[in-house]
Amino acid sequence: MAMKVFRSHLLMCAGTACVSCGTFRVRERLEKELKDRGLDEEVKVVITGCNGFCAEGPIMVVYPEGIFYGQLKPEDMPLIVEEHILKGRPVPKLFYKEPVKKEVIPLLKDIPFFGLQVLRVLRNRGLIDPENIDEYIAKDGYVALHKAVTQMTPEQIIAEMKESGLRGRGGAGFPTGDKWEEAGKYKRFPKYVICNGDEGDPGAFMDRSVLEADPHAVLEGMTICAKSIAANEGYLYVRAEYPLAIKRLNQAIEQARSYGLLGKDIFGTGFEFDAYVYPGAGAFVCGESTALMFSLEGKRGMPRAKPPRSAEAGLWGQPTVLNNVETFANVPRIILNGAKWFNSLGTEKSKGTKVFSLAGSVNNIGLVEVPMGITLRSIVFDIGEGIKNRKKFKAAQLGGPSGGFVPEHLLDTPVDYESLEATGAIMGSGGIVICDESTCMVDSARFFTNFCVEESCGKCVPCRIGLTVMLHKLEGIVGGKGQEGDVEFLEDLGRHIVRMSHCGLGQSAPNPVLSSIRHFRHEYDQHIKDKHCSSLVCTPLIRFEVNPEKCKMCGLCLKACPSDAVTWEKKQPAKINQELCTKCKSCIRACKFWAIE
């Protein structure tokens, strides 16, 4: 079954980010151009999962040269086809431009964003067609499964997993091997394997990208897990907001079934396992394992008291292993290359790599995979290439609504579970949102608290009522009604909620507030005592006056003002008429000199 040979492959990223920037329109034009020039028989267009460099979308990488084109438009296609594909002259004006030094970099492998990453979970991203199982197999896909079901006993699989030191990538960091071992111990059948793809943190998109780029890796990991605990049924709980991930998973499951890699008698060993996708309805709390299982059972998604742990009594009261998407995606390589290969990377207690989604005010927004132990500074400034628009770094928010802020002086913290926790943040599932100097820490804490109030399931009092009280306090502070003692009150209440809440959501929900108080206390004091927000975010605390010393008399604020409140003449500082001002902040956004206070 020799495959048709193509001299060149054009790999187009079709992750959600690139698709929303117009990948499919670009592809349509590209295919038309190729056809018009009779190149469609010798050049192949391959649609891949997320390439990772979302800030540059839509993306196309041309092989064999490995030339990277970003921010493509359909109109660029005739030029690329004519010059590069036909005549072999890459098109410099469409190359990636490094944001700091403005250097042009043609080759994918030379772009620092890619060069500093270590791809294990994401090894196939942007390299194979996720909708074609053969391409996954060409990258040693399902060989690990074969090894696990034909050459290893369940005990050996679990021993390998334990030795590897892999810890749950959903955030809590529970050792994966221990979890499997416990579930394997119980001899009540049926047992279940569940993949948690209910990624709900604002700004996080690791799981989505893995599912979109390499769905078979997750399926293979789940099947190996099933073998080790003797389960025959698995579910992938994926939030319904990820239609592309769900579509590709369903395709992958169909293909695996048709190859006999799922279903009865896998590899002729008599082992049976099948997997099903279950779209979640979008409740944040359903990312909590017990709530997720209730939701799967068709009940209301609410956590229950532990113990018993899910490994003992999970889905429908049966022994269940629930792991995160990224955890499962790590499994095949561990089985194939061995635990020693896996734990050769990382720190003492955190092994392997971690996938992060880098978002916010950073130049290179995207999906990155780095070895454990790399510093946050390296992620933000080397891979992320610094802050957008030459602004200053203020904090990195890790772990979403359960996480915390890491300030500048702690940026050299190595990325591992324990070190991050010591800063007041957490590893979390891997969302990193970068805040620059125009982010108000108090307002960000309010945003995350508001999110948790909305998403609290309401089962227990500390979370349901405590968070609401915290939110009201924070709203008071950003609204200019803060009082002496508010900060202490928030700290006290926050600690109570952490201690007394029922599930992980409540236990971690005060983290953004507590960590922002810990590292940015001065901003709280400024809001409460000086009634001033130096980041110019909290509207009630902005005076909307022009500081004549900072004003460079450029007149940009005049142009920006929609309500004619600004008066300005050449060589005169601007003035704002308070009666006409609607406090829309257009002038603040327009001013390049922070002259409006």
Binding site: H9, P64, T150
Partner: protein
């Protein structure tokens, strides 16, 4: 489809390997066809088709084909540059599809430089 065995996995892997190699730089030889306007006008397209045919016919997995622009010697087009990994590149001139096939089997596969069609050995390297 029937159940897969490990042999089937290997077969699938091998048949797709060539594609994936192409994306990873895993190749032994590179055939660079100069496809500037001059090259195309004098028949470079025919060379391309010939090479692709040979590769497909022989199920060859470690040879990649690239294109590049005019090499500067327009009067001797169509031209190609053959580069075996580790060896200096060789430029061939005044080619036809028949000569192309000969070069492919002698040089690209056999490793022997065909001096009768060659312009020079070890001239400038291309991308």
């Amino acid at each position: 489809m029937a159940k897969l065995s490990i042999e089937d996995l290997k077969k699938i892997k091998e048949s797709v390997q060539a594609s994936v190699n192409l994306r990873e730089g895993g190749y032994r030889a590179k055939v660079n066809i100069h496809m500037g306007t001059c090259g195309i006008a004098s028949g470079a397209r025919g060379l391309m088709t010939a090479v692709m045919n040979e590769i497909e016919k022989g199920d060859i997995k470690d040879v990649i084909v690239t294109t590049s622009g005019c090499a500067g010697l327009c009067s001797r087009e169509p031209m190609i540059t053959v580069e075996l990994l580790g060896d200096a590149p060789v430029k061939y001139i005044d080619l036809t599809p028949e000569k192309m096939r000969e070069i492919f089997s002698e040089h690209v596969l056999g490793g022997k430089v065909l001096e009768k069609y060659a312009l020079a050995v070890g001239s400038e390297t291309t991308f």
